[in-house]
Every structure is written in C-alpha cells, then in structure tokens.
C-alpha cells in the first residue's frame, strides 16, 4: 500500500502516486535510480564473493578438522565462536581493527607488507571499504558452513573412503572424486543460505560503514533502510524498494529450491 504513495511518516495525509515510486527507482528519477543501480552492483559483489568464499573455507576447515583426533572439540568451539557472537559488538571490534592505526595496519607493517596498509583505514578508503565488510561477512558465516560440512563428512561411511584408498587413490584424489560429490547437497545448501544472507544483510553495513565512504558500501538492503529511516525519510520509496527486494528474494528462493531438489 505504502509503496504507491508518498509519505514521510508524520503528515496526516498520503499523496497517492500510483506506480511512480517503482518507475522512479527503476530509471525514471535521475536522483534515485543511479543510487539503486549503484547499490545493486555492491550487493552483487557480496552475492558473488560470499557464497564462493564461505563454502571453500568451510569445507577446507571441515576436512582438516575431520583428519585430526586430538583437540577436535576445542577447535570446533573456537571456530564456531564468530557465528554465535556476530552482532554489533563484533562489528565494532572489526571497525577498530580497520582503523588507520588499527590492528590490521599494525600487522601488515610488522610483517613488511607496508604497501598493503591503508593510511585512511580500510573503511575510509573507497576502494577497500566494501571488501573489508565482505571479509567480516565471510568470517562470521564460515563457522556454520564448517559445521554443516562436518556433519556431512560424518555421514560418509568409512568403507567408501577405505575402498578408494585400496584402489590407490591419493588423499587429494579421494577428496575430489569421492567426498566432494557426496557433499553436493550440503554445498548447495550452504551456497543458498549465503546467497540469501548476502542479499539481505544490511546491519553489518549499517553498523560498520553506514554506506560510506561516498556510497561505496551502500547495498540494496541498506538503501531501503535509509529511505525509510534516514534523514529525509520517504516511506513510499522505502516500501517500493522493499517490495522489489522481496520479489527478487522470492525468485531467488524458488530458483534455489529447484536447484536443491534436483541435486538430491
């Protein structure tokens, strides 16, 4: 309803505008549609990087953890910590690490990689800010991928791997041709969960950069939030963009379920 009107949330009457909120956002308005395009591009970066990086690191960790006996439980707890604690406190710890004189720069200087350090801080540089936030997203999502893979690895019967070894397969070969295909359903699940997460998550961007510097980390979710609750709030645009996001999410979900079902 709101998406067809212009309303700042305070004045008593709405101004009906029909579909114009949608057309404005999709190219009609020279002020707003570039914002949407920009945000869409940045959302897309996350939607490509996160669903690729998370399963890769998660799988590697799960394989390594599965190959050791001692300290496995302890390590699992350590690795899992980022998942349960993700929230404002951890985002601020990362913000502090990314500061101009923060820990990340400190480490880079200490190991002689000075050229990689960022004098303005990683979140202050237009070129590194988005990457820096994506790293945090990956960091907090890896644990759940690792856990899902560990679960999957434990359901693979030892006899299958034993048989491969007797046939003379190397460890790498066993992982590639036997374990990976058996884990396909889990990979599909992880990728879908991360696609959804990368598409929807706006809190990490809100709390770490609030879209800056110069809109270099504004994603579609954050843009919607700012239309709705930013300084000149316009609930009409916010809910129009929100509806478009929801629609895209539903399409994404349907495609995902199709893929999941065909994999099983």
């Amino acid at each position: 309803m709101l998406s067809f009107a212009r309303w700042d949330g305070f004045s008593p009457d709405w101004q009906w505008t029909g579909l114009s909120n949608y057309t404005d956002l999709l190219g009609g308005d020279i002020a707003r549609s570039p914002q949407v395009v920009n945000a869409a591009a940045q959302t897309l970066v996350g939607m490509v990087v996160v669903p690729i990086a998370v399963p890769l690191i998660g799988l590697l960790l799960a394989l390594l953890l599965n190959s050791i006996r001692r300290m496995r439980a302890l390590m699992r707890t350590v690795y899992f910590l980022p998942y349960v604690t993700t929230g404002i406190a951890v985002f601020y710890a990362w913000r502090f690490m990314y500061e101009p004189n923060g820990a990340v720069n400190g480490i880079l200087n200490a190991v002689g990689l000075d050229f990689l350090s960022q004098p303005d801080g990683f979140l202050g540089n237009v070129n590194t800010a988005l990457g820096a936030v994506v790293v945090v997203q990956v960091w907090s999502a890896v644990p759940i991928a690792m856990l899902l893979y560990l679960t999957g690895l434990q359901t693979i019967p030892d006899s299958v791997i034993e048989a491969a070894r007797i046939d003379g397969a190397t460890s790498a070969r066993t992982v590639w041709s036997i374990i990976l295909p058996l884990l396909n359903p889990i990979t599909a699940l992880v990728v879908i969960l991360q696609l959804r997460e990368a598409f929807q998550n706006y809190q990490v961007y809100l709390l770490m950069t609030n879209g800056g510097p110069v809109d270099s980390t504004t994603t579609l979710g954050l843009l919607t939030y700012n239309y709705g609750f930013g300084a000149p709030s316009d609930f009409g645009y916010a809910s129009a963009l929100g509806w478009m996001l929801a629609l895209a999410a539903v399409v994404l979900a349907i495609v995902s379920f199709r893929i999941l079902r065909s994999r099983q």
Partner: protein
C-alpha cells in the same frame, strides 16, 4: 640383478626405508594440517583478543598500540565504561528482551514444529512452504510495517515492541528446526501413547517436548543471541534511554567526536561475554541440535 638375489634382509631394509619415508610424509602432512588449523583459529579469535586487549588499556595505550596484549593492563577502562554507560540498567533491559523472546519462542514454536512433524491437517505442506518462504523475505522489507504496527498498537517504547517482532521473525528457523527434530522421533512412540489414551496435547507435553532437549537448547541459544545482538528494532521503537539495551548503549559511545576505542572495546566485551559463556556451557547440545536438523 634378478629377483632371486634379493635376500630376506634386503626386503626388511627396504620395508623399513619405506616406513621411514611414510613417517616423514605423515609428520609433514600433520604439520601442515596443524598449522592451517592454528592459522584459522587465530583469524577466528583475533577480534575477541582485540576486544580484551583494548578493554584493558588506557586511551593513550590503545592509540599507540592497537594490537592485543602488549601494554601493562589496567582495569580503569572497564570501570570508566561502567560509569559512562550505566551497565547494570542496560544489562537488565537486554535480559528482559532476550529472556522474553526465548520464553515466547519456546512456548509457541515447539508446538508448531510438532504439528508440522506429527499431526495431519489440510494444506499442511502449503502452510509449511509459506513458513519456509518467509525465511527469504528480506528483514528490511518488513521493518517499516513492523514499526508502524508497533506504533498503532501503542507498543512504542515497551519491550514488547521488540520482543513480538523478534519472535515472529524467528518463526521460519524455529519451525524448521523443531519439525526436523520431531520427525526423527519414531512414530511408534506416538502410536503407543495414543493406545494408552493420551490426548494429543499431553503426548506433546509429556513425550515429545522433554525428548527434544538439544533442539530446544539450540533454539534458545539462537533466539537469545539474536535478540541480545538486536540493534535496529530497539532504536526504531524506543527513544527512552532508560529502556535501551546494551547494543544501543554501545552505539552512544561512538556519538562523540573523538571515539574512545578502549571504552568501546570494553562495552563490546560486556556484550559478548555472556554469549560466549552461554555457548561454551551449552555448545554440545547446541551443535548436536543444529546437526540433527540438517540430518533430519
């Protein structure tokens, strides 16, 4: 040289050489595995180390050295943060939100999960698909209607304004989790209870609910952590500082021009520590519950 010339002694020697080679290979692969695991452990824990280190430093120390554990520690920062933030009040408000959400979630969703797993009713699959589909609707989309609804219901400023949307928002995951768990309980148990004359509700309350301990603990941790970390909803539905939860209080530390990072880290630590304690104590059940829902 033909094979006949190989003496038993040669064979033995060759065998032991092979095992020595295998042993070095084994040791190197162990070393690689171990160091990779250690590297990620550091990556995983580093932000927490930074928090602890920062919280134990003065402002001067933290500016000159952002790395954890290098300067003589001080407890003054923690004391200052307690003064600056009124931590007991924030803690209380956070607990009200988190415990309220947990209780409601534990009251409602195990029942829903039971219904989807065990009972037969029309359109069961469709309704379940709708609940799962909700998982994919972006949170931002519903944020605006939720805030307006809170205002219209006169809940603005009350803890319920945060608890109710939060409980509602966790419906999808909670129902999937509980349903998966209840689906693993053998139906014979249900049939036997029916034969004994148990009502549907008492089957749930006396058999299924107590059996699902690890799923319930998983659900509790997920809900607790979610609402403990919730920042956006309390900000949008509350402007009374006496009702702020911890995350909103933390944010106020950053509103000044010069950010005192040592205090921010101390506050962050105060937020994170209860979650870590909860997780470490209940992690066995928690992880089993999560894994169970994947297998099921």
């Amino acid at each position: 040289m033909n094979t006949a010339s190989i003496t038993p002694r040669d064979t033995v020697r060759r065998k032991s050489a092979l095992t020595a080679g295998q042993r070095t290979a084994k040791v190197t692969s162990r070393l690689i595995v171990g160091s990779l695991l250690a590297v990620y452990a550091v990556v995983s824990i580093f932000p927490f180390a930074v928090m602890v280190g920062g919280a134990l430093k003065t402002n001067q120390q933290i500016i000159s050295n952002p790395l954890p554990f290098t300067s003589p520690p001080t407890l003054q920062t923690l004391a200052d943060t307690f003064d600056a933030l009124n931590v007991p009040l924030l803690l209380f408000n956070s607990l009200v939100l988190a415990i309220g959400a947990c209780l409601l979630v534990l009251l409602v969703y195990p029942l829903a999960g039971y219904a989807f797993a065990v009972l037969r009713f029309p359109f069961k699959r469709t309704i379940f698909a709708v609940f799962v589909g909700v998982l994919f609707v972006p949170g931002v989309t519903v944020l605006l209607p939720v805030v307006i609804l809170d205002q219209n219901l006169g809940l603005y400023g009350s803890p319920l304004a945060v608890i109710l949307p939060h409980v509602n928002g966790s419906a999808a995951i909670a129902i999937i989790l509980m349903r998966a768990y209840y689906a693993t309980i053998p139906t014979e148990l249900h049939e036997a209870a029916v034969l004994d004359g148990c009502s549907e509700f008492s089957i749930f309350a006396r058999i299924y609910f107590p059996l699902s301990r690890s799923a319930l603990i998983t659900l509790t941790i997920l809900t607790f952590v979610g609402s403990w970390n919730e920042y956006v909803l309390p900000v949008l539905t509350n402007d009374d500082p006496n009702r702020f939860p911890l995350p909103v209080g933390l944010q106020s530390l950053l509103s000044s021009n010069v950010v005192q990072w040592n205090q921010v880290m101390a506050a962050a630590l105060i937020i994170v520590v209860p979650i870590i304690i909860l997780f470490v104590f209940l992690q066995r059940y928690f992880i089993n519950g999560l894994q169970g829902s994947v297998k099921g």
